[in-house]
């Protein structure tokens, strides 16, 4: 059974803190994605990676960075968390065709 896991289901951080969100997939997928989900806005792509050490900006990369040192792991980093980054963060992975994506359970981040 395919599996994408995220390090935390719920996270509370303070403004200005550095935040790490981790995502691991066990499907040997080349592509990995980070989205944020906000009510009425659907899913918006923050960053994606199509190979180890490769990354591309999505639609809303400002305030975020990513790291992919190993194929199975894709990290999202908030360098200095702000209250407008309070959101649900979803990680996904897919094969190179970028057809069907498989999602993790999400991390609900609250920045106070």
């Amino acid at each position: 059974d395919v599996k994408v896991t995220q390090s935390s289901r719920y996270l509370v951080k303070r403004t200005g803190e550095k935040v790490f969100l981790e995502c691991v997939q066990d499907m040997d997928h080349e592509n990995m994605f980070w989205y944020r989900q906000d009510p009425g806005l659907g899913l918006r792509l923050i960053y994606f990676s199509y190979d180890v050490k490769m990354k591309e900006k999505g639609d809303i990369p400002e305030g975020y960075s990513v790291s992919r040192e190993k194929k199975e792991r894709f990290s999202l980093i908030l360098e200095s968390a702000s209250t407008n980054q309070t959101s649900m963060y979803l990680c996904a992975s897919s094969l190179p065709s970028r057809d069907t994506q498989y999602f993790g359970p999400g991390t609900r981040l609250t920045v106070l």
Binding site: Y35, G42, R44, L45, Y50, Q101, F103, G104
Partner: protein
Amino acid sequence: AQSVAQPEDQVNVAEGNPLTVKCTYSVSGNPYLFWYVQYPNRGLQFLLKYITGDNLVKGSYGFEAEFNKSQTSFHLKKPSALVSDSALYFCAVRAPVYSSASKIIFGSGTRLSIRP
């Protein structure tokens, strides 16, 4: 540029009745179309996809979707709704050309509520 629209924020249906969740898209060329479902406090789960072939696509949990090229629509349907179908549904589209610019674009989501 590609885009996808889900015109209804919420759809309410009585259990046992047919349901439709609407989706329209805009993309150059023949689209790749997807439906995903999100149950409370869960990630998105893949329901079905259309890439080519028969315009009526069957997916998980008894759902199906009909691709209509002339109306640029990909509505999700089910003949008889269950209370357990209550969830948030996302339509998504991708242009057929594989490139780094060819991302999957998700709609804003439609909350489906099935009353007993």
